[in-house]
């Protein structure tokens, strides 16, 4: 049952002082299973909403089959979402066409009703504008649904005078600085070359040893000069590339956005193509995004590999030559190479060995702190989640049952499922473990009585949401005091 007004819910989720990067509204992902009489619909993700702020780590926690991975995959459009809307950087990337259609139909109905009475002209105009905006919304949702490139009108305007765009200015500054550096090098080396030539002419050719040495010197200087000139050309090329991609980014809205969102997969063996070298694997994202210059590609790949603490020499090897942790780092490099601002990490450590897990967690932590990357972390290991995350949502059978800040959930778990999850974390402390006794099991039919009123996600305290009905809500609230 979907009751709550979306606007209210989302405004609750949003922290005002921080910038929001991803907002998920009523996301639904259903799968059709079986055929004929056995045909059923599995609600893998059913009506979940949350938002993620810039720079934070948000975790989805739950047992396998609760829909946490499906959520991640639906957000990055590996599945076509059944319903719900997802906003990324303020732009709608997944639109609910059915919902928009419904809203429009209701509006038209209301308009017909209103038309029966006499409408004044100003009222009619109001109706007209309302209907127009609704129609526009309908069209845009349809376009959005079919992955069409959205050409933004504002972008077109700004493209006309791109010199005023801040990012463009930054680019120009950066490359001018580089170019000046190179130019000074060129001038210096030109002088050196001239000097060396003069020296060479002065020397008597009979002194062969000295002559050869001077000749060698001259050649070295010349080489330096040539390299610097090449570098200058390349610099121009890079500048052009970056401007091109910037223009592209300004012109088209969603293509850029999807590039800013990347995914790290669970299984480091299955997610890397065994027939591609590391360089090909990492560069694939760049190539798809239209980078064609081999030098630029190589540079970016090496940069990404260095970021995950691999060496550029590794680029020519195949995935099977690496250990599990290194493979997972290749997967991370593949995500990082297109400079994403948001990463979906789908259980990146659950398939790794203990000693390697720490490497990957530390790496993700560094990336987040250095590059300010926002991470949606999907996991079932709660001790890692506690160590790593800022906020988390606990999922159970396609629903979010509890959501909020890390401290609040770990110190005051309210929903019985969260309690049983926290209860079952094994700890490296024998005394404590022996005292603890049996792990608590969660049985929804015993814990809740939803015959009178169906549960919804409610805010029990600031930034702490629990899936409950009114009765439970009051109980939880009382327990907090």
């Amino acid at each position: 049952m979907r009751v709550i007004n979306i606007e209210v819910k989302v405004s609750n989720l949003k922290k005002e002082n921080r910038e929001e990067i991803l907002r998920v509204e009523d996301l639904r992902q259903y799968f059709k299973v079986g055929s004929g009489r056995n045909k059923t619909i599995i609600k893998a993700v059913d009506d979940i909403s949350f938002s993620i702020n810039k720079g934070e780590v948000f975790s989805l926690v739950g047992e396998s089959g609760c829909g946490k991975t499906t959520t991640g995959r639906a957000i990055i459009k590996l599945y076509e979402a059944t319903g719900g809307e997802v906003y990324f950087n303020g732009v709608r990337i997944i639109a609910d066409y059915k919902k928009a259609k419904k809203v429009h139909a209701e509006l038209m109905k209301a308009f017909k009703e209103a038309k029966k009475g006499n409408l004044s002209e100003s009222e009619l105009e109001q109706w007209q504008t309302k209907i127009n905006t609704s129609l526009e919304n309908l069209r845009s949702t349809r376009r959005n649904r079919h992955f069409e490139r959205i050409v933004s009108e504002e972008g077109k305007e700004t493209l006309k005078n791109i010199e005023n765009v801040d990012e463009y200015k930054l680019l120009v500054e950066k490359y001018q600085g580089l170019a000046e550096n190179i130019k000074t090098i060129i001038e210096e080396s030109k002088k050196e070359v001239e000097y060396a030539r003069n020296e060479l002419e002065k020397i008597n050719k009979s002194d062969k040893v000295l002559f050869k040495e001077k000749q060698r010197q001259l050649r070295a200087f010349e080489k330096k000069l040539r390299n610097a000139e090449k570098e200058l050309k390349l610099n121009q090329l890079r500048f052009k590339m970056d401007v091109k991609s910037l223009k592209h980014d300004i012109k088209y809205k969603n293509k850029l956005l999807m590039r800013k969102m990347q995914m790290i997969f669970q299984d480091p063996i299955a997610s890397l193509n065994p027939r591609m070298t590391v360089k090909e694997i990492v560069a694939e994202g760049l190539r798809i995004n239209g980078v064609k210059n081999e030098r630029v590609i190589e540079e970016r790949v090496n940069e990404a590999l260095k970021m995950v603490k691999l060496v550029p020499e590794h680029a020519s090897r195949y995935p099977h030559e690496f250990s599990g942790g290194q493979r997972q780092r290749i997967g991370i490099a593949r995500a990082l190479v297109v400079n994403p601002s948001f990463i979906i990490a789908d259980e990146p450590i659950s398939n790794l060995d203990v000693s390697i897990r720490a490497q990957i967690i530390n790496l993700l932590n560094d990336l987040r702190q250095e590059k300010g990357i926002t991470i949606l972390f999907i996991a079932h290991d709660l001790s890692v989640v506690k160590y790593f995350t800022d906020r988390l949502a606990v999922m159970y059978f396609g629903k979010i049952v509890e959501m909020g800040d890390k401290e609040k959930i770990f110190n005051n778990p309210l929903h019985p499922y969260t309690k049983s999850l926290l209860d079952s974390i094994p700890q490296p402390d024998p005394y404590y473990e022996r005292k603890r006794g049996k792990t608590r099991r969660y049985n929804p039919s015993l814990e809740h009585d939803y015959s009178k009123e169906l549960p919804t996600l409610r805010e029990v305290e600031e930034g702490h949401f629990v899936f409950c009905n009114q009765e439970e809500f009051e109980k939880y609230k009382a327990s907090l005091k």
């Binding site: 203990v354 290991d381 160590y387 770990f410 999850l421 473990e433």
Partner: protein, 500 residues
């Protein structure tokens, strides 16, 4: 002193590969006491699974046991032939594997998989026959094996002599000759005993055959006797039935009586059939009982389902049920919860604990998750690169770890209160084709001493039950503090346990 159930002594296992021998297990020794849980911890490739596969006798084809013993009930399991190993495997030592999906057959119903072993080994008369001449048969086989071992030893000795550098050619030849004559004498003596043993074995077999035949006849006679009396009663009732009319009150009662008797006949037949072999019904009853024991809800329904219809936790329960069907005394759990979720992991661990308590099992628990071990184990051994580097009771390992590798393992996992940066172990485990000289962990160890690269440390005693193989415990070694993250954690735990 507790009773030892299993003793592993200096076990060394290698795998033949095209590149040479991979030394997977090097000189591992441990004891398993009755009713305890012994945990082996280490990262993948440390040889913990290989050790236990050797105990189960299911090493891969290219695996060789190069030395050492696995003593179970005074029997060395490394010397038991494949033909006889099935008397130990499953019946005495059961095993639970890591991935429940791949250890179950996807095309077979669960019930069939649980009862399969029981039905296949179900011919009771055959088993009884084997039991009767078991001793003589094994004496004969052991003698045969002893002769072969003797021959092998001589062959090896000769080869060693041939390639030795210290002797001259003439000396070599003389020694070889001496060896061969001695060996021939020994082997001849052993061979003389063979026909005698064989005769004894054949005689015992004949005797056993006769006895079993008699027993069979006895059972048949008993069955016939009890059945005949029943048949007679049925016949009498039938005659009565014919005489009474259908409307009579007696008619119905008689009919019921006959039905009851017929049921009884079926039961008697079933009972006597069970004396010959394990019947399907018997196996079904036992399977349902065990499935209830491992907390599988609705066992009657699950019995007819396929593995893919169950969740991961249920599948693991089925695997445990299969292991328990033969009433083993030792249970080896090879990472039983790695493929499972946290909540289900807790349930499975509780289940293993409960079974252990109820059946007085001894459990060998293999894992890489130290949190799980704290919950389960009485004693813990930490393995690295095919060697045990530290062992002790779980309190000693968790509250007073001594080996740098144990420190690294403990500090690479965050617990609920960790806030510092995790310490990751640099590098990768060594290539066991060329095991490093000295301490295998030295390369990845920031506390490594110079001697670590040259000589392997012996076990230093920390307490009566706690030993660690690290030079840091030597009296001349510099005093080194544990990493801060661990000392903090231990202090926190102590505080917590005192607070309660």
């Amino acid at each position: 002193m507790k009773e030892k159930v299993l003793e592993v002594k200096n076990l060394t296992i290698s795998f033949k590969t095209p590149n040479g021998l991979v030394r997977a297990v090097r000189d591992v020794s441990f004891d398993l006491y009755k009713g305890e849980t012994f945990a082996i911890v280490g990262e993948s490739g440390s040889g913990k699974s290989v050790t236990n596969r050797a105990i189960m006798g299911i090493l891969a084809g290219n695996g060789i046991i190069e030395g050492g013993q696995i003593l179970y009930q005074n029997q060395d399991l490394t010397k038991v032939s494949e033909a006889n190993f099935h008397e130990v495997r499953g019946k005495k030592i059961g095993m639970i594997f890591q991935d429940p999906l791949s250890s179950l057959n996807p095309t077979m119903k669960i019930g069939k998989q649980i009862t399969e072993a029981m039905l296949v080994n179900g011919n009771r008369m055959k088993n009884r026959l084997k039991d009767l001449y078991h001793i003589e048969y094994h004496n004969y086989l052991n003698m045969k094996k002893a002769i072969e071992i003797e021959k092998e030893n001589v062959r090896n000795a000769v080869i060693n002599l041939r390639f030795s550098d210290t002797l001259t050619r003439a000396e070599k030849q003389a020694k070889i000759k001496e060896l061969k004559t001695n060996a021939a004498k020994n082997i001849g003596q052993l061979k003389k005993q063979l026909p005698d043993l064989k005769a004894k074995y054949l005689e015992a077999k004949k005797r056993a055959d006769k006895q079993v035949k008699q027993e069979k006849i006895q059972i048949k006679n008993d069955e016939n006797a009890s059945l005949n009396s029943l048949y007679e009663r049925i016949a009498a009732l039938k005659i009565q039935l014919k005489q009474t009319s259908k409307t009579d009150a007696f008619y119905k009662k008689n009919l019921d009586d006959i039905r009851k008797l017929k049921k009884e006949v079926k039961e008697v037949k079933e009972q006597f059939r069970r004396k010959f072999k394990v019947t399907r019904k018997e196996a079904y009853e036992k399977a349902i009982q065990i499935m209830k024991e491992v907390n599988i809800p609705e066992p009657e329904k699950r019995f007819h389902q396929y593995p893919f219809q169950l969740s991961g936790g249920m599948r693991q329960r089925v695997v445990i049920a299969i292991a328990l069907m033969a009433n083993p005394k030792i249970l080896i759990c090879d990472e039983p919860t790695t493929a499972l979720d946290v909540t289900i992991q807790g349930q499975i661990l509780d289940l293993i604990k409960q079974i252990k308590k109820e059946r007085d099992l001894s459990v060998i628990f293999i894992t890489h998750d130290l949190g799980v071990v704290a919950n389960m184990a009485d004693r813990i051994a930490v393995m690295y690169a095919g060697k045990i580097v530290e062992y002790g009771t779980s309190e000693e390992i968790f509250y007073n770890p001594k080996h740098p590798y144990t420190w690294a393992l403990l500090s690479s996992v965050p617990d609920l209160e960790t806030k510092d940066k995790l310490i990751s172990i640099p590098g990768t485990p060594p290539d066991m084709l060329f095991p490093p000289k000295g301490d295998a962990f030295a390369e990845r160890n920031e506390y490594a001493l110079k001697i670590d690269f040259e000589e392997h440390p012996p076990f230093f005693k920390v307490s009566d039950t706690h030993y660690a193989a690290t030079w840091l415990l030597h009296e001349y070694a510099p005093k080194i503090e544990r990493p801060k993250i661990i000392t903090d954690r231990i202090a926190r735990y102590k505080h917590r346990s005192e607070g309660e």
